[in-house]
Amino acid sequence: MLYREAGQFKTNYVADSAIFPLRQDRIGLGLIIIAAYALAFLGNSFLLQAVMIPFLVFSLASIGLNILTGYTGLLSLGTGAFMGVGAYACYKLMTAFPEVNVIVWIFVSGFFSAAIGALFGLPSLRIKGFYLAVATLAAQFFLQWCFIRIPWLVNYNVSGALDAPLRTLFGTPIMGPNATPQTRYLVVLTIVILLTWLASNLVHGRIGRMWIAIRDMDLAAELMGIRPLQTKLLAFAVSSYYCGVAGALLVFLWYGGAEYDVFNINQSFFILFMVIIGGLGSLIGSFFGAALIFILPIVLGIVLPAIMSPFGISVGADVIEHLRFMIVGALIIFFLIVEPHGLARLWQIGKQKLLVWPFPY
C-alpha cells in the first residue's frame, strides 16, 4: 500500500535520471543507514565482531570485484592478493608514519593496491575470458609469494605476521587490542558507506557507462571511441583500490592481525562467489552476496546441531563442518539454477511485484 509511485512526477532530467527515482526507496535507504548506525549501540559485541564487521568488509571487497567482473566483464581470480597488497601497504605506512591518522593510511593504502592491480591488468587488452582469469592467478600466486618471502613488508618481525598497533581517532582507540568492536564497527561502516556512495556515482556516470560498453562488446565500444586500454586499466585500478581498502580493514579492524595465508586463493574464490550469487553488475547485489555467503555458514553452524539433536543424532564438530560444505555447495548450485542473475535480480523482481500489487502487472 505504501509502496506506490503514483503522484511522484518527474519534472526535469535530473529527477528522471536519479539513482533512486522513488521517494519510498530514498526513505528506505535512509532508514537502513540509520538502523546500521543504531546497531552499533543495540547489538552485542559477538554480533558486531563476528557478523557485521566481516560482512561489511566482504561487501566492500565484493563491490571492488563487481566493478571489474560485473561492470567491465573482466574475470579476476586475484582479489585475495590485491586485498593483501592493501593490508601490507597500510601496515608499512602506519608503522613508518605513526603520527598521521590511520584513517588516512587506510584510504591511501588502496592506491598501492590500485597501482599493482593496474600493472597486472595490462594483459587484459589481449587476453579475454577464462584465459584472463588464469592470467590473474599469476598475480595471486606471485603476490602471495612476495608476502612470504619479503620480510621488509612486515618490518622484519620474527612471526612474519601483520599485527594491528594501537591507533586512535579523536582520542578513542579504533585499532589494536583496546579498540572495542563498537568503535571498529562504526569506523568500518562509515568507510564502507562512503566508498559505496563513491562507487555508485562512478558506475552511474560516464566512467561506468564506458565500463559497461566494454563489457557488452569491447570491439564495438572501441569503434565508438572508448579507449579499451585506459578503460580496462581504470577498472582494474578502481577495483583493486576497493579490494585494497577492504584488505586493510579486514586485517586491522576485523582480525586485529593476520598472516599472509589470509590472502590465499580461497579468499579470491570466496569474493567471486559473493559477486556471482549477489548479482553481476549490481552494487546492492554485492551486499546480498556477502550476506549470504558469509552469514549462511555461521547460521548453519548454529542451526544444524539444533536440528539434529532432537532426532538423537549427536554429531561431532567435524561432521557439522562437512555438512556445511555440502549445503553451501548445493545452495550455490540451487541459487544459480533458480536465478542465474543473482539475488539482486530477485530483489528487483520483488520490488516490481510490490509496486503493482495486488495486480499481476
Binding site: A135, F142, W145, D318, H322
Partner: protein, 318 residues
C-alpha cells in the same frame, strides 16, 4: 653486472658442468608435466564438449582416489574397488548432468563455471563426510604399481629414475593414446567432436547432447581416477591434492582450452620449465618460485598467442 651474471651466465655454466643434474631435473619436470597434462586433459574433454570450464576437475581427482582407497580400506579387494570407483564416477557424471548441467543449459559461461564451484564444495564436504579428512596412502602394492628406483651411470654422474614415475609416464601416455583413438575412430568420438564444433548442428543431426555430456563427464572422471592414482602414489591422497588442479590451469591456457595435443605439450613445457626454473634460478630469489612460475610462463606465451599455443583462432565480429 653481478646480478646479470647470476641470471644469464651462471645457471648455464652450472648446467654444462653437471649434465647429470640437468638430466635429473629434466626427467622430474617431464614426469610432473605428464601428470599435469593428465589433469588438464580432464578439463579439455569437458570444455570441448560442453563449453563448461570445469573447476571441479581437481576435486574429482581427489574424490576418485579417495573412493578407491576408502573402499579398499573397508575390505573390498583392490580390483573390485577400482571397478566400483569407475562406477562411482559414472554415477557422478549422470547426477551432474541431470542436476547441474541440464537446468543451466544456455546460461553464460561464468554461471556454469560457478556451478562447478558449488560442485567442488559439495564434493569436498561429501568426500570428507564419507571417507574422513585424514590423508591416506595410495594402495600401490595392491594395484601392482612398481616401486623402487633405477640408477643409471651417465655423463659422469648418477641419474635416478623412480619406477613409479616411469609407470606414471607410460600409463598416462597409454591413456592419452586411447583417448585419441576414441575421439577419432569411434562413433561416440565422432559425435563428441561434432558437439564440440557446434551444439546446434550436432542436435540437428540427431546427436543427444545430454548423452554426450554424461559420456564426457564420465571420461573426465576416468581420467581423474587415473590422475588420482598416480598423484596419490607420489604424494598421498588428501584434499590438498586439489591444489594441483590449479597447476593444470596454466597448462590449459598454454595449450589452449580446446586442444588435446595442446594439453600434453603445455603440460610438458610447464613441468620442465617449472623444475628447471626452481632448480637453477629459484635460489636467486630465495626459492619457492614453483608456486607462480608456471603462471608467469603461461602469461608470457599468452601475450603472443591469446588463444594458447593450439587453441582455435579467436575471430571477433561486431
Amino acid at each position: 653486472m653481478d646480478i646479470l651474471y647470476k641470471i644469464f651466465i651462471e645457471p648455464f655454466v652450472f648446467m654444462g658442468e653437471a649434465p647429470d643434474l640437468l638430466i635429473q631435473t629434466l626427467w622430474e619436470g617431464l614426469v610432473s608435466g605428464v601428470l599435469y597434462a593428465l589433469i588438464a586433459l580432464g578439463f579439455v574433454l569437458i570444455f570441448k564438449a560442453s563449453g563448461v570450464f570445469n573447476f571441479a576437475q581437481g576435486i574429482m581427482v581427489v574424490f576418485a582416489a579417495l573412493t578407491l582407497v576408502g573402499l579398499y580400506e573397508k575390505g573390498v579387494p583392490a580390483f573390485l574397488a577400482l571397478i566400483l570407483a569407475v562406477l562411482v564416477m559414472l554415477v557422478l557424471a549422470v547426477v551432474v548432468e541431470r542436476v547441474v548441467l541440464r537446468p543451466l543449459v544456455n546460461q553464460p559461461d561464468i554461471i556454469l563455471f560457478m556451478a562447478t564451484f558449488g560442485l567442488t564444495y559439495f564434493l569436498i564436504g561429501f568426500g570428507e563426510l564419507i571417507f574422513g579428512g585424514n590423508p591416506k596412502e595410495m594402495i600401490t602394492d595392491a594395484l601392482f604399481l612398481p616401486q623402487g628406483t633405477t640408477e643409471l651411470d651417465m655423463l659422469g654422474g648418477m641419474v635416478r629414475f623412480q619406477h613409479l614415475d616411469i609407470a606414471a609416464a607410460v600409463i598416462a601416455s597409454i591413456m592419452i593414446g586411447l583417448l585419441a583413438v576414441f575421439f577419432s575412430k569411434t562413433r561416440i568420438g565422432r559425435a563428441l567432436r561434432a558437439v564440440a564444433d557446434s551444439h546446434k548442428a550436432a542436435l540437428s543431426v540427431g546427436i543427444s547432447l545430454n548423452q554426450i555430456w554424461v559420456i564426457v563427464w564420465f571420461a573426465a572422471g576416468i581420467v581423474a581416477l587415473v590422475a588420482g592414482i598416480m598423484w596419490g602414489a607420489r604424494s598421498g591422497v588428501s584434499f590438498s591434492l586439489q591444489i594441483i588442479a590449479l597447476k593444470a590451469l596454466p597448462v590449459l591456457i598454454l595449450g589452449g582450452f580446446t586442444s588435446i595435443p595442446g594439453a600434453i605439450i603445455g603440460g610438458l613445457i610447464i613441468g620442465v620449465g617449472e623444475k628447471i626454473g626452481e632448480f637453477y634460478w629459484g635460489p636467486l630469489v630465495g626459492g619457492g618460485v614453483e608456486t607462480w612460475l608456471a603462471y608467469v610462463i603461461a602469461l608470457l606465451f599468452l601475450l603472443y598467442r591469446p588463444q594458447g599455443l593450439f587453441g582455435e583462432k579467436i575471430i571477433e565480429r561486431i
